[in-house]
Amino acid sequence: MTDTARIQDSIHEQDEYNFAYLDEQTKRMIRRAILKGIAIPGYQVPFASREMPMPYGWGTGGVQVTAAILGRNDCLKMIDQGSDDTTNAVSLRGFFEKTAGVRTTCETAEATIIQTRHRIPEKPLTGEQILVFQVPIPEPLRFLEPRETETRKMHALEDYGLMHVKLYEDIARNGHIATTYAYPVKVNDRYVMDPSPTPKFDNPKIDRMAALQLYGAGREKRIYAIPPHTKVRSLDFEDYPFEIQQFDKPCGLCGADNVYLDEVILDDEGGRMFVCSDSDYCEERRAQGHLGPMAADPAAARIGTKEPA
């Protein structure tokens, strides 16, 4: 038995934490907000967000949602920027291992609850799974209309011209819609929603997704949801239709096409590689024998891709 496991056991014996940290009344309150959110797809439900033992910006909203829906038989996966092994993912996974003692995994297919920051897994999710998003700023209209009273009214009256003003500005300044993340969507032909800071590459996955999507914003105290198989349309203009990012090379490690790639700087001489942002997907493909051009040794392959200084 490792030290960590021993500490965990002793905590559970002493009953220091309630299951999944939050007390049961708080969970009920959050579940009510979640149910309301599911009933009104895309509507931001205010909830009494709690102080969590981590700073705002670390995913306190997502953590509270996960804590409220987590059961003892659930298997939890934590993603940060597509990866299972970055600080945020490791810390939050550790948090739930410690406070709930649930099974955790890095494999998308195995998880029943996936909490994510920024990415939606490349592997299609099923109706048995729930995707929980950590949201920093839930209000898509915020940057153009600072008054909360006004944005709420705009949602209530479906007064969404302003959202297109933002897209208009994009085209006027850049010649195309330059918003690449937190790209506004219209849910079920009613509410305009900010799909958290996910890259717009993932927007098509939100549309009619089989899994339930829950969005939690801890600092802003809002929860919203997209029920399974709900229509979600990315906003655009008739002559400037919505399009996702294109990558001209496959993943350097697993050779996957049509996935979202991260740029990895290899040295200070312009060496770089592009790899799957979804680390689990990449590993699984490599285990199946798919190899990208730099799979053997990224450092050795870098001569080939080095760009002129």
């Binding site: 009256l157 011209g161 297109h164 208009y168």
Partner: protein
């Protein structure tokens, strides 16, 4: 000029009263406004003209009284019995509101083109090219160069901002425009140019206008009819020339005689 060709009033105001606690903002104001008519509300600061304008434009609920507006379908509707959604639609299609301070009426952090296009997008325009050409057209009509279409209003002079605000309001072809001291804070040559422009647009588009001003020269140039307010009450109304050339009330006489002569 063909003025009052239409048969029915566009706006019917009856006994509009607004109290701020015990104090009177405006009291028992009644008038009719016909299509194509420009009505000036004049008076000194604190006389209740802006309160009245805000009541008329549904920005401030009156304490008592009724305001009816003829919708595009010809039916008279009480403005304060409309739903908020209907009122908003009215404000961004059939109406315009030109603020004294252009920054209140513009989005200062988006380009001039987006400022003009916002109303179009709000009523459902989703074709970038069309929105942009409409914006370009309107900038031209208010004498702003095409190459400023992607600039922020922050980089515009006071007069340009005011003209941009006017373009932004007129792009949906409203029938009624409220103006609160549209020339306030502009120097006289810029004022003259703006007044010229307003006069032309109002005549070309057959707009009805309710304009609040303390500047009798503005009232003289733009308006057909004038309403003089003092301490929340309307003390004199009539045709502009008649009131200004032959004021009846002592207070109006005082106002007219206090215009600086150069």
């Amino acid at each position: 000029m063909t003025l009052f060709h239409a048969e029915d009033p566009l706006l019917q105001v009856r006994n509009v009263t607004r109290y701020y606690g015990d104090r009177i903002g405006c009291s028992e104001v009644s008038f009719d406004l016909w299509p194509g008519e420009v009505l000036a509300i004049v008076g000194e600061s604190g006389s209740g003209k802006t309160t009245l304008l805000n009541c008329l434009s549904t920005r401030l609920a009156p304490t008592a009284g009724a305001i009816e507006y003829r919708m595009r379908d010809g039916a008279m509707r009480n403005l304060y019995q409309l739903s908020e959604a209907e009122r908003r639609l009215l404000m961004r299609t059939d109406w315009g509101f030109v603020h004294q301070n252009a920054a209140d009426g513009l989005r200062m952090n988006v380009s001039a083109g987006a400022n003009v296009g916002e109303r179009l997008m709000a009523v459902g325009a989703r074709h970038y090219g069309n929105i942009r050409s409409a914006a370009d057209d309107w900038l031209g009509r208010v004498e702003i160069d095409s190459d400023r279409i992607d600039d922020d209003p922050r980089s515009f002079s006071g007069g340009m901002r005011q003209r941009l605000q006017i373009a932004r309001n007129l792009v949906t072809q409203p029938r009624l425009v409220f103006m609160d001291e549209p020339t306030g804070g502009l120097d006289v040559s810029v004022q003259a140019r703006l007044l010229d422009l307003l006069r032309r647009l109002v005549a070309d588009l057959g707009l009805s206008v309710v304009i609040v001003t303390h500047d009798l020269a503005v009232a003289r140039l733009l308006s057909h009819r004038i309403m003089v307010m003092r301490q929340g009450n309307v003390i004199e109304t009539g045709l502009t020339d008649q009131v200004l050339d032959d004021p009846r009330e002592p207070y109006t006489q005082l106002l007219v005689s206090s215009i600086l002569q150069v």
